[in-house]
């Protein structure tokens, strides 16, 4: 009965490096979301996947950010040439849908990214 799993739980890297964050959604959930949360702030939407397609990627803050999803399951969020302002907790959520209304999202515990 696994929930949403994210890895790594913590990542510390130097400015300018690339990072990959992974999300394993709940089995059978076709919708997948990435959010970013800075310390003490609310969640900032980044991108939404339905299956392997991303009908809404409007929240990606710059072209250094990209995400993909394969096999309708695992998703990877990649940040290239990291900057200090990228430091945040990156949260992933999944849900049933979109052919169903009122589907709540189930969240992982996030990856805490720190850019030195």
């Amino acid at each position: 009965g696994a929930g949403v799993s994210q890895s790594p739980s913590n990542k510390v890297t130097e400015k300018g490096k690339d990072v990959e964050l992974r999300c394993d959604p709940i089995s059978g959930h076709t919708a997948l979301y990435w959010y970013r949360q800075s310390l003490g702030q609310g969640l900032e939407f980044l991108i939404y996947f339905q299956g392997n397609s991303a009908p809404d990627k409007s929240g990606l803050p710059s072209d250094r950010f990209s995400a993909e999803r394969t096999g309708g399951s695992v998703s990877t969020l990649t940040i290239q040439r990291t900057q200090q302002e990228d430091s945040a907790v990156y949260l992933c959520a999944s849900s049933l849908g979109p052919d169903r209304h009122n589907q709540p999202q189930h969240f992982g515990d996030g990856t805490r990214l720190s850019i030195l």
């Binding site: 702030q41 809404d56 929240g59 849908g97 009122n102």
Partner: protein, 113 residues
């Protein structure tokens, strides 16, 4: 997208009932109202969801007036462990073209002994 407005913070004491109200004046016909709870270092956790009137589950009640322009999350007899941030969202996961959710800053509930 429906914007929500919640109090930034609330204080309460153990054993009291806490009511957190969320305003969502431009809620759309198909939008549902969903509340999440978030503890430090964890992702948000679904609490309750409703469309109209009243919904109750084992942890909370959700009151939604007829015009649906606001909703109230009611936590009965809170304990110290209910100290968390509570987010109100409106949206429709069945919306064609995708589903973007807007999390505001939430309401920080602090329960005191």
């Amino acid at each position: 997208l429906a914007k929500t407005t919640q109090p930034i913070s609330m204080d309460s004491y153990e054993g009291q009932e806490v009511n957190i109200t969320c305003s969502h004046n431009n809620i759309a016909t198909n939008d549902y109202i969903t509340w999440y709870q978030q503890f430090p270092s964890q992702g948000p956790r679904f609490i309750i969801q409703g469309y109209k009137t009243k919904v109750t589950n084992e942890v909370a009640s959700l009151f939604i007036p007829a015009d649906r322009k606001s909703s109230t999350l009611s936590l009965p007899r809170v304990s110290l462990s209910d100290t968390a941030v509570y987010y109100c969202l409106v949206g429709d996961s069945g919306r064609a073209g995708g589903f973007k959710t807007i999390f505001g800053a939430g309401t920080r509930l602090f329960v005191k002994a």
